[in-house]
Symmetry: C2
Subunit: 233 residues, 2 copies
């Protein structure tokens, strides 16, 4: 049994934090009054308390209590007792380093496979994949491994960005980067555009939101899938 | 004694491979007929031979012989005998993984500190810094360390890109990423725009090309330096 929402971003242009996905969050978290928040990705170096306050503000609209995992003396015990977890975005290298350092990765994975409700945005979405190797983030910290939760049988590229045909910049496009990933790695990658998310119910994975997603498989041309369709390989 | 050219990119929009920097390369490499090419970053997964052929074509205009390091049975011995080295761009994680795997990092560093002429573009520029942690690349391979050559007392961000004020995308800007780097790392970072390079003569480092570069120091607002100015911290 698995229950996950895996979202490209916490915020879409022109709306407030989590606003675009609140209806689905209300349904997803309907059995949980309290959500344990994992703030380790710490965007912009803000404190864990400050980041948790942002998450709380987002969840106020649907009446949920958000508690930072950093406020527990034993984060592993906190995860064992959690009914619901939300991991926010920021830097994936930092997030994964912290999850390994505190040794919470195995417990988080075990709870997800037991059916605990998990919601992740951006870096928090990236870590649900097999590895964090299709992150867009800068490697500001050296994690002990790139292996992540493996809650889904592929990798996520959050904030997926289409190439800009008018660009004169010579840095690689996102599509080129993912193609480079596939020169030495075999797992499929879902490029989730901002405003898209995956809903995982056990082994059934559905694309949600208004947009298409771009799918990359090794040795195949990339292709689009429609919102509402099932992701299968 | 050190002699390096550290370039943001191999190619600027609207011109051919290395064309924008050929006059300086002719002067820089005037004492070397042969340049040893390090193709390990392998952009787009092409073969080492194919990548070396691209580099050779670029250097044909100034009459240099380019020899891929992969054609030597002993790459360490090849570096020990080299008068000049060029490392091309691609993926920095792949490049650094290979440099460690083949154990050539210490020899390359030693030869650079002895005064061997070194030219690097993009990933090949990134590795001249203290660490590869301000690369823009996707972590497609797990290197044994992020530590790089330390030929200069700071880090490089190649292909530096200014924020687009009209963008609605919520992914981090380059400036935000480098600020995140500085929440946990102390070394300065030079953001080199495409068409800029650093000329290193011993400990004197001069910004070259037509553009300004953006300098990031921990706990300071970022600032611009002019072409022709010396980089000092």
């Amino acid at each position: 049994m698995k229950n996950l929402l895996i979202a490209s971003t916490s915020t879409v242009h022109g709306s407030s934090y989590l606003e675009y996905i609140l209806d689905d969050l209300a349904e997803f978290f309907k059995a949980s009054e309290e959500i344990i928040f994992i703030p380790y990705a710490r965007p912009g170096g803000i404190s864990h308390d400050d980041y948790t306050a942002i998450a709380q503000k987002g969840f106020d609209a649907i009446g949920k209590q958000v508690t930072g995992i950093h406020t527990f003396s034993d984060p592993i015990e906190a995860l064992k007792n959690a009914k619901a977890v939300f991991t926010g975005g920021g830097n994936t290298f930092l997030l994964v380093s912290q999850l390994y350092k505190l040794d919470v990765m195995p417990t988080l994975r075990a709870r997800i496979f037991e059916g605990m409700h998990y919601f992740g945005t951006s870096a928090g979405a990236n870590i649900t994949g097999l590895t964090m190797q299709t992150t867009n983030d800068m490697p500001i910290m050296y994690p002990p491994s790139f292996k992540t939760l493996g809650a889904i049988p592929f990798n996520i590229n959050p904030h997926y960005l289409d190439p800009d045909p008018s660009s004169t910049h010579k840095g690689e496009t996102r599509e080129t980067r993912i193609k480079e990933f596939h020169t030495i790695n075999t797992q499929p990658v879902i490029g989730l555009r901002e405003g898209s998310w995956l809903e995982v119910k056990n082994d059934r994975i559905i694309l949600k939101g208004n947009l298409q997603a771009r799918v990359f498989e090794q040795n195949k041309p990339p292709y689009e899938i429609e919102s509402g369709s099932e992701v299968r390989f």
